[in-house]
Amino acid sequence: MITLTINGKTVEVEDGTTILQAAEAHGMKVPYYCYHPDIGIDGNCRMCLVEVNGNTDKLTISCKQACGEGMDVQTESPAVKKARKGVLEFYLINHPLDCTICDEAGQCPLQDYAYKHGPGDSRFVEEKRKGPKKVEFSDKVIFDSERCILCTRCTRYFENVRDSRPIGVSDMGGKCTITLGPNGPIEDPYQLNIIDICPVGALTSLDARFNQRVWFMDFAKTICPGCSKGCNIEAAAYQGQLKRFEPRRNPDVNKSWMCDDGRLSYDRYNLTDRVRSAHVAGEPAELGVALDKVNELVGDGAGVAVLASTKNTCEDLLALRTWAQAHGVTQLWHGAETWAGDDFLKQPDATPNTAGAQGLGFEPVPDDVPALRGLVVAGDVPVPPALLGTIDFLVHQAPTAGELGPAAMVLLPGRTPLEKRGTFVNHEGRRQQVRPAVDPGPGVPEDWTLWRDLAGETARADWPSVRHVIGAVDRALGADKVASAS
């Protein structure tokens, strides 16, 4: 351990901790652009300069300098503040200051630092440098060199994280530009991560460009439902429409990254043809009437199976199981959806909660399906045709009616993963919290409440809110690994 003082406060840190990390850990934030915890240290931006041992002639970059025993660090001294202001002025003189039409506005560290540490006025009366604008780095990414501050996070992301070099830096001095390599457009399936790490609006996503101002959107901290990796994301919505997914840093799961497929999947959950009420035999029905019908059809449960989507939360599934078991249904199966995984984040299991379903006793559909009398399908899930062959009745609960809807004796409304509340367990067994990014509107209760209500009075009394079900899942999974619910 190393003991040093930062702004007069004595702190103790592990050997090898940088000044920047030490300061941040003790609530003293140092601004920076080029450093990124998941890309590494470069030391080019000069934003994180601090004063070490009173040396004001030569300030130290706190991102790279390791803490030393007895060091006296100042992060807010007059010399540091002047340097910061000076560096920001250097950034701003050639920056187009087109925040009015820039997609980064509102989540832009250049704006934020300029506001907090910047000069406040401009002493630059010369002509600004001109450079290439609207450069297509790919069919997903657009580059604006005039906004670029050359922190090189984007090039270092590819080099250090993706082990590839689709873009680089050309020329020297003031002419330096991020540039596409001679091999043409970026093809990396994780390329959109450079949009998030770009600290200005130099890199924008063609998909998100000019779509919606960031301050008009609501952001929910949730989990990408696209595969069993469980990438932590922020899902952004405007007036009930999902607008984008962005990765949310979790060092243990996805660091700061997510795949482009997952990121661009948000629109899949903007549904137009919702099931907004229960239906019995194709006719709209009161929910209570429909639920009674389900219990009537299931009877003693003999010959009935449940097939649950693994896009259901653990809480949905526990409520479902509780109802099923109370009604003698013992065949609890879960669906399977796959896609091509890779060696970075993407898992072959294209659903977020298979591990949760299995932990709660749901099993894969057996190869030899016994003859069934009835089937209850919970969620939007592909149903093996063998399950449908002999049944007398089908209960289907899903956000949209889909192909199964017309065949269902009882059709119940359901929520998308972006409307759910509860937890998913990822492929590594990590249970993570899911929060609704959008409200489905009238007539679509939370899925777990449906099954709870179906299960009867005891369940209703035990689980007045999702918190109680989450607690019940803790016990059911026999684990206390309730995730990083941050």
Partner: protein, 435 residues
């Protein structure tokens, strides 16, 4: 009158001075062979330290000190890089060594590598030195053939390879860590220090980077002893140096003097005085990255580190640029700042953005659009660059800039159109005076 003491330049006038035959005839490589056979590495490092030699590239660091920072116990190979990127405006001394006495450099390479255990040396030369490149290339070949490079040199078991590495026109590559990146084949951005190259240099291995003139001094120190060297010139900055004089003097060129002489004596004596009988206006004494001196300062300064530091400037690479009274100092600093803006590598922000900004402001003065507040602005921009960057290029740009703004303020004021100047005087050519 001051007398040249030709140590490094002694052979410059020798016919066929570049050939190994004439070099050996003049005693060349004897010190190398004797050193390899009879001296211990630590003992050589100590000798160089005691000689008081400071590096001749600009920073003035003792090469003996640098060598002593190289780890002794390591499995990694060690490297010497000879810095012959000589690009500091006003400096043209290393080129003389390369063109006229390349074997003297190579002998220094051999001894230096032996001293700190390097097994490979890269001699880094700027590509504009066509003649120097040919001379060094030939000399390396001759030295290999004569057994001074290669395996088991002089039967001592010491192995050393020496290769030429050619740059491509970038001043920044003279910065030692930029030079390493240039050799490694990546964009030659300076590296943040620590780690220092002596510990982690080329490919993460211990590496020393020494200037051409520095290395060429080494055989002389080993041959004549540390005490001999320590007694040359000024006690606190001893030795001989190749002084490059350019600008408005009658006889510009490279002169070899011991440190400690009076700059005025050099200009008036060997340099033949000011050209066309003009008056002296200013001298930039240590390559362009040093602070300008006014005539009264030139009259009293002695050319050694303590003497020049007393006037706030530095000896740098010993490039002495002399300007007469016809020179527009705003023009001169604009020219220099264009140099720094052009040569800024672009890696870090204050230098990449600051140097072109300064050029734009100075250009406004020259175009007749200077403003009274611009002098303060220039000084503040300099303050925001100096000591805030990865390497010293921005510092080197700030020193001539701030000193010229401070010492020739009246020339800037005179270029502000028709308005009153900041000191209330009307803008006309004002009398010269120290700030």
């Amino acid at each position: 009158m001051i007398q040249e003491n030709k140590v490094l330049s002694a052979r410059f006038g020798t016919p066929d001075s570049c050939s190994i035959e004439t070099y050996r005839r003049d005693g060349g490589y004897q010190t190398y062979v004797e050193t390899l056979r009879s001296r211990q590495p630590d003992d050589i490092i100590d000798e160089v330290k005691r000689s008081g030699l400071r590096g001749r590239g600009g920073a003035g660091v003792s090469p003996g000190m640098t060598w002593s920072f190289v780890p002794k116990q390591t499995d990694k190979p060690k490297y010497l890089c000879v810095n012959g990127d000589e690009s500091e405006p006003g400096t043209f001394k290393d080129r003389q060594i390369l063109e006229f006495d390349p074997h003297a450099l190579l002998e220094g390479v051999g001894i230096s590598c032996f001293a700190f255990g390097a097994s490979t040396c890269y001699v880094y030369l700027r590509c504009e030195f066509a003649e120097g490149i040919r001379a060094v290339q030939k000399a390396i070949k001759e030295a290999y053939e004569a057994g001074f490079f290669g395996k088991d040199i002089a039967g001592t078991g010491f192995d050393l390879d020496c290769y030429l590495h050619i740059g491509a026109g970038a001043y920044i590559c003279g910065e030692e860590t930029s030079l390493l990146n240039s050799i490694e084949g990546v964009r030659p951005y300076p590296r943040n220090k620590p780690p220092f190259p002596a510990v982690e240099g080329l490919w993460g291995c211990p590496t020393v980077i020494n200037n051409v003139e520095t290395i060429t001094n080494i055989p002389h120190i080993l041959k004549n002893g540390a005490e001999w060297h320590a007694k040359l010139g000024h006690a606190d900055d001893p030795g001989v140096r190749l002084w490059c004089v350019s600008g408005h003097v009658n006889k510009p060129g490279v002169y070899e003097f011991e440190t400690g002489f009076k700059l005025q004596d050099l200009i008036d004596g060997p340099c033949g005085g000011m050209r066309d009988g003009r008056k002296l206006k200013a001298v930039i004494p240590g390559g362009s990255s040093s602070k300008v001196l006014l005539p009264d300062e030139v009259a009293r300064v002695t050319m050694d580190t303590p003497g020049i530091r007393a006037l706030g400037s530095s000896l740098g690479s010993a490039g002495i640029m002399v300007f007469d009274d016809r020179t527009c100092m705003v023009d001169a600093i604009l020219n220099l700042m264009k140099f720094y803006a052009h040569e800024s590598c672009g890696q870090c922000t204050p230098c990449r953005e600051g140097t072109p900004w300064v050029v734009k402001i100075l250009q406004r003065f020259v175009d007749g659009r200077g403003r009274p507040q611009d002098m303060e602005l220039l000084l503040d921009i300099a303050a925001n660059m100096e000591g805030r960057t990865v390497c010293a290029l921005a510092d080197g740009a700030c020193w001539p800039l701030t000193s010229i703004v401070q010492k020739f303020r009246h020339e800037f004021e005179a270029m502000i159109p028709s308005a009153k100047t900041s000191s209330g005087r009307t803008a006309t050519a004002a009398p010269t005076g120290a700030a």
